[in-house]
Symmetry: C2
Subunit: 328 residues, 2 copies
Amino acid sequence: MPPSDYGAPAGDPELREAIAGYLRRWRGVACGAGDVVVTAGAIQAVDLIARAIIEPGDTVGFEEPGYPLARQALQARGAKLLPVQVNHDGMQVDLIPSGPGAPIFVYVTPSHQYPLGARMPVGRRMALLEWARANDALVVEDDYDSVFRFDAPPLQALAGLDDGGRVAYIGTFSKVLSPALRVGYLVVPPPLRERVEHFKRISDFHASWPLQRALPAFVREGHLERHIRRMRRHCGDKRQALSATLAPVSDVARPRGLEAGLHEFLELDATVDPVPLSRAGRDRQHRPPVLHARQRPGLLLGYGGLTIDEINAGGRVLAATIRAAAAG
Amino acid sequence: MPPSDYGAPAGDPELREAIAGYLRRWRGVACGAGDVVVTAGAIQAVDLIARAIIEPGDTVGFEEPGYPLARQALQARGAKLLPVQVNHDGMQVDLIPSGPGAPIFVYVTPSHQYPLGARMPVGRRMALLEWARANDALVVEDDYDSVFRFDAPPLQALAGLDDGGRVAYIGTFSKVLSPALRVGYLVVPPPLRERVEHFKRISDFHASWPLQRALPAFVREGHLERHIRRMRRHCGDKRQALSATLAPVSDVARPRGLEAGLHEFLELDATVDPVPLSRAGRDRQHRPPVLHARQRPGLLLGYGGLTIDEINAGGRVLAATIRAAAAG
């Protein structure tokens, strides 16, 4: 029987404990149940932070290119976004202004930069935390798909490196289980907790009870971690399939960010126009978004939701179309 | 298997169809699946409307006294709330300003005013719609517990009486199933739909898939309506139990709003201080909130979540405490 009353805005204590344990073991984040707020996916976590922190007109540092939905959530609260260019090591921390022009926080995806796929090295992570300390600012770390890493172990989360309450950490079950579940979590420094819970309450009161009851056992009994290991192998196979189908066109189409996560950025030679390539997708579902990163055109290829057969078939069509476009 | 991709922000088409059918049959609201947005409870519906419509500084008409959580959601968006006094027929529509001082919308609970319990008669409903038409304004109808009506059939929703796209209708499964599910719905006039879906997307993308898949069959196969009929009988018994235990103190404590819904406002004689009465609640769970309505003190007694035994026991303690306070 579902309860006949509302639950706590931060979520079911058992689920919060299960998430905290998972974060300690897998992401090196020293947190307890009381630090975790259960959210409706990562995007609600961004929205709650935006509502809890931003006053209209405040400046927020944002990856360029970055995650469009997070951008919209921050802008909806009236933030002025300061684009910070991304390179092969993620957000270029030395480009973030300090002093009077410093943003109140920066939003980053250090495990697997969205969309370009870079992993931020430890040195740059430390520099980012130092920037936050020096400017009394916050780092919002969106760790949406950190556990999918194939060539190297995931680096410890910024929230695990931080010892000064400078990081708000966002995670989600969207990639490890399903985006359709809409369950994520947020670990915020203690001074922010009350405001975050207030906005959670007026956003939707709390996460849905049946999910909150089902997930703790799933996490606690090790099903989640077994599932992640299985998914890693499975996604590793998908990734290899994608690489193999696109290998014949590697002279004009270079995969970026394949070493982690569930998408790659396929950077195209300047002679290849990505727009007709995107249209060549067999249907709307599999039509890859066109992205222009650092003046280089490319395609964003998400393969987490495709079968290996679909990747093989789609990849061959894409490679042939790229070859034709490069020759034309 | 849950889907490996995100769903539509407005919700699963089958659930939207099931809700539309339910609203046509039970609330006289002529709507189709395309008009319904599935939300995380009624409060998210209020929040989405607030975000879609309100510019900071806009005036919104609000019941006085009214629902505190909705008040907070509207204020969080920067609305200036204009209190409109409530009497035995609900919001006093003739007190809403017209012309330049008119609010951009009014938020009302016409089926069972929260907290005082009044049902707005048809004449006043028509006057409210006429006010909205004359002022090019909107009415936000929160129909949170309309189906629990014991002495008279529920009146048709404002959204059913409206023929000019002037009503945004909010409903929820919180009272008929459980507040812990966090599933509600919003029917908005077509011009607002795109903005509401935008804010749903950046709030939490869409409602959780397992719930969205379970509910349509529950509604379509008639379980919901059978459940409502059973709950009506059951809540009718609870209501009678509450009335009976408090009957001995009816000279100083008058129940209001018992003819519908799952709570009553117990209006107290001016000589009875409600604060110690509230404290006499056996535990925090059952401690009734104190409310001062129209200069009359009282207690808000929610009984939907209590068993009949709990109501009998709690009611007897409350009656004895009231008698002692009145004598003291």
